[in-house]
């Protein structure tokens, strides 16, 4: 992963990894674009125009 999927900065950050337990990703880890994120009661989808959809 080139970019942190929580804050969009390069690399991986311990605080962001911890926060991600209760948050969906916001930034595409491949290109750092902000993704369109939909949270539903049992999961989430996050979509980058360039790199497609991720689910959790």
């Amino acid at each position: 992963m080139a970019y942190c999927d929580r804050c969009g900065e390069p690399g991986s950050h311990a605080a962001c990894v911890a926060a991600r337990e209760l948050e969906p990703p916001r930034y595409c880890p491949d290109c750092r674009r902000r993704m369109k994120v939909q949270v539903v009661p049992t999961g989430w989808t996050a979509t980058c125009v360039e790199h497609g959809e991720r689910r959790g």
Binding site: G8, Y27, V37, Q38, V39
Partner: protein, 331 residues
């Protein structure tokens, strides 16, 4: 036992009347060593005036992000550098979310939109969405779409929306430090129209936004004056990019004191765990709150953040021997 707890026992437990503002403040100021007695009293009040059932709800965001308002806690305001992008949920996904919610045993499904108030597109989506849910799923539909006109209130009631959420968020005196794009009074007026329409009123807020204990007591007293059917209690989870993004989270014991104080202010209300309990209270604190005045919870994920799996909460309720309120019990 401190005198305030004796007074609260007589007034709230025995007589079913809520505490007034100065007594709520006295409760919020109780030292840690009195917390177990306070929680026990709040639990006794909940059991006597509400019963052992717990109302379970799921929520979903129909329209996320891009909101023109400036609520300083909110990652969905379009005015802050928040990473949350605008997105709409389609109707099939909305119905699927309602099905997943019903499968947990929940009786409430709340459809939420990040808006100042609904426009025609949102009302059209609501009409189609509520109809589709009612055809496919056995669950009560609630909504939270911001400030409403009288026409919109009437329309939502006609759609069969049974409860409307509109949070005052904080007390009147602190509100201008939280929101500047609309007033506390504007929110109050929507709540008044909702009440008169016959829809149930759901109104709560967020603790830990910088309000003082006096203002927390003021808020509980103002909610008691409104007398809503349900009060969702959130604890601030500071969101990146928002004006409150660097605020500290509420201490667990302060959160428990607040839960008990709100129960003593609102003995008959459905007092619901909403956002922030995972961080503020953790698993142990969540359990303590359910034994200290809480009688409802949102299960599963929130609007832009995630909760713990519904199964974990349902196991906790089973362990506490608190039955999940059934649909037949809600009429």
């Amino acid at each position: 036992m401190p005198e305030i707890l004796d007074r609260a026992r007589a007034r709230v437990l025995d007589d079913g009347a809520g505490l007034d503002e100065s007594d709520i403040l006295a409760v919020l100021r109780l030292p840690d060593e009195d917390l177990p007695d306070l929680l026990q009293l709040a639990h006794d009040v909940r059991m006597k005036w509400c019963g052992p059932e717990v109302e379970v709800e799921g929520i979903v965001s129909l329209k996320t992000g891009g909101c023109p308002e400036d609520c300083h806690f909110c990652s969905q305001s379009g005015l802050f550098a928040s990473p949350v992008r605008s997105v709409w949920l389609d109707i099939p996904s909305l119905v699927e979310a309602a099905k997943q919610t019903a499968a947990t045993g929940a009786t409430e499904f709340c459809i939420v939109a990040a808006v100042r108030g609904p426009d025609k597109r949102l009302m059209d989506q609501m009409r189609a969405g509520v109809k589709a849910i009612k055809e496919a799923v056995d669950i009560q539909v609630a909504a939270s779409l911001g400030m409403l006109s009288q026409e919109q209130v009437d329309e939502l009631a006609a759609m069969g929306v049974h409860r409307y959420n509109h949070n005052l968020e904080t007390c009147k005196s602190y509100f201008p430090s939280v929101v500047t794009t609309h007033s506390w009074e504007e929110r109050w007026s929507t709540l008044t129209m909702v009440r008169e329409s016959g829809m149930e009123v759901c109104c709560g807020g967020i603790l830990g936004m910088g309000e003082t204990l006096e203002q927390r007591a003021e808020f509980a007293a103002q909610l008691a004056e409104l007398d809503p059917h349900e009060v969702p209690l959130n604890f601030l989870t500071p969101r990146p990019g928002t004006p409150f993004g660097d605020r500290p989270v509420v201490e667990g014991k302060d959160a428990l004191r607040a839960i008990a104080a709100f129960r003593l202010a609102l003995p008959r209300a459905i007092l619901r765990y909403a956002g922030g309990r995972e961080i503020t209270l953790g698993d142990l604190g969540t359990r303590e709150g359910l034994l200290g005045g809480i009688n409802a919870m949102i299960v599963g994920n929130y609007l832009t953040t995630l909760g713990r799996p519904a199964t974990a909460d349902l196991e906790l309720l089973a362990d506490l021997k608190m039955p999940v309120k059934s649909l037949s019990a809600t009429f």
